[in-house]
Symmetry: C2
Subunit: 215 residues, 2 copies
């Protein structure tokens, strides 16, 4: 097994499937499975085995003809490809329901996210303890970012506050922003902005319900 | 402009982009824009204009050479294609943080989701009023589904409860399940299950931060 390190352009559709690979392999690791064929793995995930092999080929050489993949090795490789081993220092801004749901989400720390601080502007929330962290006043956000060397900012504020929070995160030196607010974030090119549109799944569901016969 | 009604198999990647079309067009409608060229629209969305035209071609004939698209017409067409006009009767099961975040999500009703009931098994939550609806005991879920003719069930329970809730939803006659629990749902083929993996965006962010030079 060799992970490619050179510069290869990876199609966006392949990148989008990596989290799925991670999730399925994690389950197989937990189930104690030692090896899996590309046919079994691809069936599990609802893609073709040639798709699976092609996707993985962007990142190196995995598996062996006739043997398949060592589950734990492939899982480790996917983790490394995704950058999960990094333990990024992170803050979350906006301790409403969605923010709390994320803070309590068990996959968070497991996926290499090291949540260091929670910020809000609501006086009735500031000072509250959520999952072992005290909610801080957003007024202190920039100083905190610079002092702690925070790398990722998660935005779970209302749409109206999202850009101003993003501006503070960027001024505070983060490299990545995970945005849940339904608001486009303007950021310099060197800042990675990942938008999660929580309502998109509903639209896919509607579509599939309406066009069931066409899928 | 003609919306195709016949049986055409639409690739999964195209279906995945429809919610993005919906979101961007909604903004343009709100901004009062009358028409948009395929080049402008595709640039806004970060895809090529040939991709845009090809995607839309699965659903009919839209736009005019040299004129582009009438924004409001294309928006209406996308709404119709997605099935947004339908006002599906819906219940949500699991009134924790994520459930509350969804209930308070403004796009919910706007997107044609008619939330009729909220269910939980926690005695300290049952009876609580959230956004005008009283949280009901999950023990009454099946009877309620059958009586009200509920079409969609949203699962925001812990993973351990997701399958048993799905079984009740299916027995109660829903046609679609929107699952947020990190748990695979087994369902008959005629039931549409849409899984939203809220943590996937984090993995994409990690990947892009690690491989910035390769994107």
């Amino acid at each position: 097994m060799t992970i490619r390190t050179g510069p290869v352009v990876v199609p966006a559709a392949v990148i989008k499937r990596l989290p799925m690979y991670y999730r399925y392999l994690q389950v197989l690791v937990e189930e104690g499975l030692e090896r899996v064929s590309s046919r079994e793995l691809s069936q599990l995930m609802g893609i073709t085995s040639s798709q699976l092999r092609q996707d993985l080929s962007y990142f190196g050489e995995f598996g062996q003809q006739g043997y398949g993949y060592k589950v734990s090795e492939l899982y480790q490789a996917i983790c490394e490809i995704l950058g999960i081993e990094k333990q990024y220092k992170t803050v979350l801004v906006g301790a409403g329901n969605l923010g709390r749901a994320l803070i309590n989400y068990q996959g968070f720390s497991r996926r290499g996210l090291n949540l260091k601080g929670i910020f809000d502007n609501n006086p009735s929330v500031i000072g509250e303890n959520i999952n072992g962290l005290t909610v801080c006043n957003v007024e202190g956000l920039k100083d905190y970012l610079l002092k702690e060397g925070i790398q990722i900012g998660v935005i779970t504020t209302p749409a109206s506050a999202a850009q101003s929070i993003a501006d503070i995160l960027i001024a505070g030196g983060v490299a990545g922003i995970w945005n849940f607010a339904p608001q486009h974030i303007n950021a310099p090119e060197n800042i990675i902005v990942e938008n999660t549109h929580i309502g998109d799944g509903l639209l896919s569901l509607f579509f599939k319900m309406k066009h069931q016969e066409r899928l």
